[in-house]
């Protein structure tokens, strides 16, 4: 009788993790972390955290101790980034994570427990706020910055707008809360404005403005690049300055620091 083996299935899964970056001097940093936790005790509950050790000097000996100290405070660590290979004792936290993804915006740490509960459900993070002056400020040591890995909002799925027809000249499609996908072309004299990325399954002949309100990791994709203007997070490029070999070709526009790059879609 032949045995059928169970089928091994693998699925892709992405989660939102917070990245905590300790900065020396460490004792002061840990004090600041404690003060923060006191102000917003539930903020770290159930949130997976990656510790980024990139700012620690090479001679650091107590990296493992630091990790334990963070874990003792009830922070759920799922991985370590940017540890120097010579540091010992970090095996407990598994292999170092592969190269950092694009950093997102800083997350506002709420100042009260109530706000902390609310922030878990909130959608768009506001600009980072300085800690309230009422609590004794820890000293010039920088308050822990928390930059999210991979995405930019501590919210569930971002909304997305699907437009199932071409956008005619003079029309303007705007969607601040996420990506816009267009099945059709964007005519010359039309514009598409998105908070997230823009995907055009057709010719882009008009204007595409992505990454509104500070999302510099937004991208613009199209099957045929004939755009009048592309802009991502305030950085724009007009048709004149676009690379000639991309005109009329499937292309992706993205930001490399402050530079607009337009490359083939592979």
């Amino acid at each position: 009788m032949s045995e059928t083996r169970p089928l091994i299935r693998l699925r892709g899964r992405s989660i939102m993790a917070l990245v905590l970056t300790p900065e020396p001097p460490l004792p002061a940093w840990l004090e600041a972390l404690d003060a923060q936790i006191e102000r917003a005790p539930t903020f770290f509950d159930n949130r997976p955290v990656i510790v980024d050790l990139g700012t620690l000097p090479r001679e650091t000996r107590d990296a493992a101790e630091l990790m334990r100290a963070i874990q003792e405070r009830g922070i759920h660590i799922i991985g370590v980034e940017s540890a120097h290979p010579s540091w010992s004792g970090l095996e407990a936290w598994g292999r170092p994570l592969p190269g950092a993804g694009k950093a997102g915006k800083p997350i506002e740490i709420p100042q009260t427990a109530a706000a902390s509960a609310a922030s878990v459900a909130s959608s768009s993070p506001g600009p980072r706020v300085e800690p309230a002056k009422a609590t004794p400020a820890p000293t010039p040591a920088p308050t822990p910055t928390q930059a999210p890995a991979q995405t930019s909002a501590p919210a569930p799925e971002q909304a997305s707008l699907l437009v199932g027809h071409s956008v005619r000249s003079g029309q303007s499609i705007a969607f601040e809360n996420g990506d816009i996908t267009i099945i059709g072309s964007v005519a010359s004299g039309a514009e598409v404005v998105a908070g997230g990325s823009i995907h055009v399954y057709g010719a882009l002949r008009g204007r595409a403005i992505a990454g509104l309100s500070g999302n510099s990791s937004a991208r613009i994709f199209c099957s045929k690049l004939n755009a009048e203007l592309v802009a991502i997070d305030g950085v724009y490029q007009t048709a004149e300055d676009m690379p000639p070999d991309r005109i009329g070709m499937p292309s992706c526009a993205w930001l490399d620091g402050d530079l607009m790059r337009i490359t083939p879609i592979d």
Binding site: R168, S169, S185, A187, S188, G189, R205
Partner: protein
């Protein structure tokens, strides 16, 4: 059931009035009861092209304002019995058009005629909006060149949003009429090719009317080209377009470049 057709373009000078007259005459010659309506208040031209400029007494604004009855304003064509014209005012402007007034007139015309063809003014303001508002079918007249194509695209966007049909979520039947097509210039890349225009505008093609000196000759004589010179290439294109409007399946032929003996011998294009 009467059909209201709007001939529009966005861009000026592409051939709306010429096409309105030509299509109107072609349909009337085919036996339909047709009225052509001039919506270009203040800059009227349809009466000239129809040869009726010396018989205009009342116009559409007079009817809207109650100074005259519709039957008094309508001018019957002398050559074809079932073709009539409702002229526009030359002394007033587009602000005199009102929504209720236009609606009432279109309603009354629907009862009298099989086809109500509205000649839209250029632009995207009140005159153009009023002309398209109550239409069932749109003919978008476009020249195969970039500015005309972009303006036509804008107008198509408005047909899909500012008309009564659009407000009722019904689809308006739109057709592309490519006019002043010059095959030689298209093949040399000086003018857009038919496929390029269709790719950008994405509406079905009604016909391709070649550039022709006969058109100006006809309008000088105050006669639609389909009446004045039915054998000309332009008139033939209009006749075919009229047949397609009535639902017939006729294949669209892209006009070829015409070169006479002299052209072939000496390699230069002779004026056809």
């Amino acid at each position: 059931m009467a059909k209201v057709l709007v001939v529009t373009s966005g861009k000026g000078g592409v051939g709306k009035t010429t096409s309105t007259a030509a299509l109107g005459a072609a349909l009337a010659q085919g036996g339909e009861n047709v009225v052509v309506v001039d919506f270009d208040v203040g800059l009227r031209n349809l009466d000239l092209v129809m040869g009726a400029e010396r018989r205009v007494v009342y116009d559409m604004i007079n009817v809207i304002q109650g100074d005259a009855k519709l039957s008094q304003a309508l001018i019957r064509d002398k050559r074809i019995d079932n073709l009539s014209l409702l002229p526009a005012s030359q002394t007033r402007d587009k602000d005199a058009l009102t929504d209720e007034g236009v609606e009432k007139i279109v309603q009354q015309l629907r009862e009298k005629f099989d086809w109500v063809i509205c000649d839209s003014p250029a632009g995207i303001e009140k005159g153009a909006m009023m002309a398209m508002r109550y239409a069932d079918i749109a003919v978008v007249v476009t020249n195969p060149e970039v500015s005309s194509v972009r303006d036509s695209d804008r107008i198509i966007g408005m047909l899909d949003s500012k008309t009564l049909k659009a407000e009722r979520d019904e689809r308006m039947e739109k057709h592309l009429l490519l006019t002043r097509y010059d095959a030689g210039r298209a093949s040399r890349g000086e003018m857009l090719k038919v496929e390029d225009v269709l790719e950008i505008l994405s509406i079905p093609l009604l016909g391709i009317v070649p550039e022709s000196v006969d058109v100006l000759n006809a309008s000088n004589l105050g006669s639609p080209i389909t009446l004045n010179n039915p054998a000309s290439a332009a008139a033939k294109a209009y006749f075919e377009a009229a047949r397609r409007l009535r639902g017939e399946q006729v294949e669209v032929a892209v006009p070829m470049e015409r070169r006479g003996i002299m052209g072939r011998l000496f390699g230069r294009k002779v004026m056809a």
